[in-house]
């Protein structure tokens, strides 16, 4: 029983980490109809900020990572995606890959390709017991950061004028524009939010792994993409649901498969996710309409 509860904690922790990554993808897709594969590089930029400011006071280091990722996200929208706004989906997708490869290679040229270590939040490197279940402080922090991010995002989208404009744009972008919602501002805000979420994800990832590298965003963005597709593309709740399902399946197959087939855990996880898609081709929660953005 204790072991089962321990696996539940593992699932919540991993799912929360995935949710931090996938929310950033969902926010941008909801508004701009763009699956931003360069989101991983926002995570990487925040990670490198944490690395380069090693030794600075922690609050400054964390704030700088958030600011760097936020600025990078806004610049990414302004320089790379705004010029191709309204283009076909495949153009947007290829642009996001191009931005991703460009940034990865830029950082390889600037900082080298090797993973570089940095110590972040060492105080979270221990655990505490609740009814015999060992909970890592980092796991607890990851779950808390994810839920607080989700709560703050929900409040922003439901209580602020800009948030309501974003929701209106997500429902019907043409109509919202006709009613005076400024497209540039709304889309830039979505990117800024995705940048902040990428920074939160980077903080949790670097604390967990102790490593940064120019390709550190590739695995998170892949998990985020899968979680969004399974949950229902463009829906925040879908992204979170997809993240916990992906984490749940990963932990369950890791825990239940015998040692031989366990080597092929990911094949089982993605096989199960394919079955989900066969049953619900638009994801668990229906994906938002994929009409063109002007």
């Amino acid at each position: 029983m204790t072991q089962t509860l321990q696996y539940v904690v593992d699932t919540l922790s991993l799912g929360s980490l995935y949710a931090l990554y996938s929310l950033g993808i969902a926010v941008v897709f909801g508004i701009a109809r763009l699956i931003n594969f360069a989101h991983g590089e926002l995570i990487m930029i925040a990670g490198f900020t944490l690395l380069l400011l090693d030794g600075w006071p922690l609050p400054l280091r964390l704030a700088a990572a958030c600011v760097a990722a936020l600025i990078a996200a806004v610049l990414m929208e302004r320089l790379a995606f705004r010029p191709v706004r309204g283009a076909k989906d495949d153009t947007l997708l290829i642009t996001s890959f191009a931005v991703s490869f460009f940034l990865q290679n830029l950082f390889i040229v600037m900082f080298g390709a090797l993973p570089q270590g940095t110590l972040l939040l060492p105080a979270l490197g221990s655990s505490f017991n609740v009814f015999g279940v060992s909970i890592g402080k980092l796991d607890a922090a990851t779950i808390m950061v994810t839920f607080l991010s989700l709560a703050a995002l929900t409040l922003f989208l439901t209580r602020s004028s800009l948030g309501i404009q974003m929701r209106a744009s997500a429902e019907n972008f043409r109509m919202a524009r006709c009613l005076g919602v400024p497209a540039n501002r709304v889309i830039a805000t979505a990117f800024a939010i995705s940048g902040l979420l990428a920074a939160f994800g980077a903080v949790m990832m670097v604390t967990r792994t102790g490593l940064t590298s120019p390709v550190m965003g590739v695995t998170p963005v892949f998990a985020a993409f899968v979680a969004n597709i399974i949950g229902g593309l463009g829906r925040l709740s879908g992204a979170v649901l997809g993240s916990y399902l992906l984490a749940g399946l990963t932990v369950a197959f890791q825990a239940l498969l015998p040692v031989g087939p366990r080597s092929y855990r990911d094949a089982f996880v993605f096989g199960a996710l394919l079955l989900v898609l066969v049953a619900r081709p638009n994801g668990l929660l229906r994906a938002v309409a994929t009409e063109q953005r002007v």
């Binding site: 191009a98 990865q104 993973p115 110590l119 792994t209 825990a255 040692v259 080597s263």
Partner: protein
């Protein structure tokens, strides 16, 4: 007009990407080697980014030093040696293409990546053209019998695993837990070698688990370990960074303080010096210590030369293996009096503790070194240091 601007923007973006990708690796175009008068071209295929960059980038530094030394000493029978390079980006799909590109550059032999899964394709292409492919060390046991023209300056993964087990046994450790990275055959064979030798020596395997080098959390694996073996005598970490490093960090964060032992995949301090500055209780099984305390004075001199050439402390032993791979090919060419693949292979097969920086032995049927004496390095308070040497049956 707008469409034109967009096209230009996309064009600029693609050009920048290509230019930056190209900047990460410089590739020379070689002149012909076949006339017997021009430079002799040797290829180097490796990942300058991605998961194998921590090994193949230092190996390139070592190969460049060897070429520089050979040319300073007059080249190969009067002909200068030239190194052409190809970045496979640690991408399994790039392997065969990189092999063909090196042949197109005129290479008469080539160094190939450490891992069979990622370098085997290139090795097959080069061998198919009748030329020598020499892995810069490590990887699957299958390298040893991959074909008549394919060699590896390293030892087999199963032998590395056996050396890990031998050392654990010599330390009086009675039980072990295995953590196997599923990213390549190497990791699996490493733990197989450990398990076989450790049980032969009377040790007990308390449990084993798998993970993927790209995982960002090992919570489920740690839960299983804590329930099966809360503090095993030793944990065989059959992996390499970043996944292997992540495992060490998360095990320590979870309060598991058992000693960890790995192969040369975890050699060097780059993966822990900042993130776990006071790390202790981690052992690696290596072919050379790059910390100035190797029992062979020649290795210490080579490490010094490497440090001088690259302007920094070599990060792991792969600078040494890149160096000896070039030296071995050149020594065999001189022995054979030819750059012909079959003749060079015959010369390589005659290597019996041939001194190419460290002693190197091959034979006709087994193209990896079965006689090497392993170095055991221990990380103490964030600093690796030589502890002892270990020998195994070597297969």
């Amino acid at each position: 007009m707008i469409r034109g601007t967009r096209k230009r923007a996309a064009g600029v973006m693609v050009t920048l990407c290509l230019a930056l990708s190209a900047c990460t690796m410089s590739t020379d175009t070689a002149s012909s080697n076949h006339d017997g008068t021009g430079p002799i071209t040797i290829g180097f295929i490796g990942g300058m980014s991605g998961v194998f960059a921590p090994y193949e980038k230092p190996a390139l530094d070592g190969a460049e030093l060897a070429v520089k030394e050979i040319n300073a000493a007059g080249g190969v029978d009067g002909r200068p040696l030239k190194l052409v390079t190809e970045d496979n980006k640690s991408d399994i799909n790039e392997s065969a293409r990189a092999g063909q590109a090196i042949l197109d550059d005129g290479a008469v032999a080539s160094l190939v990546p450490v891992d069979l899964n990622y370098g085997g394709g290139a090795a097959q292409v080069i061998q198919g053209a009748g030329k020598i492919a020499m892995s810069v060390g490590g990887g699957s046991t299958q390298w040893a019998k991959f074909g008549p023209l394919v060699y590896n300056v390293g030892t087999t993964a199963t032998s590395d695993g056996a050396a890990m087990a031998q050392f654990a046994h010599d330390k009086g450790i009675k039980d072990a837990y295995l953590m196997v990275d599923t990213i390549s055959d190497f990791s699996q064979e490493l733990c197989d070698g450990f398990k076989t030798r450790f049980t032969e020596l009377g040790g007990r395997i308390l449990g084993s688990d798998t993970f993927n080098n790209k995982d960002t959390s090992l919570g489920a694996q740690i839960t299983r370990m804590k329930s099966a073996a809360p503090q095993p005598g030793i944990i065989a970490n059959c992996s390499f960074p970043p996944g292997g490093a992540l495992m060490v960090k998360q095990l320590r964060d979870a309060g598991i303080d058992s000693p960890l032992i790995s192969s040369n995949g975890m050699d060097g301090d780059f993966w822990f010096k900042n993130s776990m500055p006071n790390l202790s209780g981690v052992y690696t099984v290596d072919w050379a210590s790059v910390w100035g305390d190797d029992p062979a004075p020649g290795v210490n001199k080579l490490v010094k030369d490497l440090a001088k050439a690259q302007g920094s402390q070599p990060q792991n032993q792969f600078g040494v293996t890149g160096y000896i791979a070039v030296k071995a090919i050149v020594a065999a060419m001189q022995k054979a009096g030819s750059t012909d693949g079959d003749k060079v292979a015959a010369a390589l097969n005659s290597f019996k503790r041939e001194d190419v920086g460290i002693p190197l032995t091959f034979d006709k049927d087994f193209h990896m070194d079965r006689t090497r004496e392993y170095r055991i390095l221990q990380v103490v308070n964030g600093r690796p240091k030589f502890v002892t040497t270990v020998k195994t049956a070597g297969n």
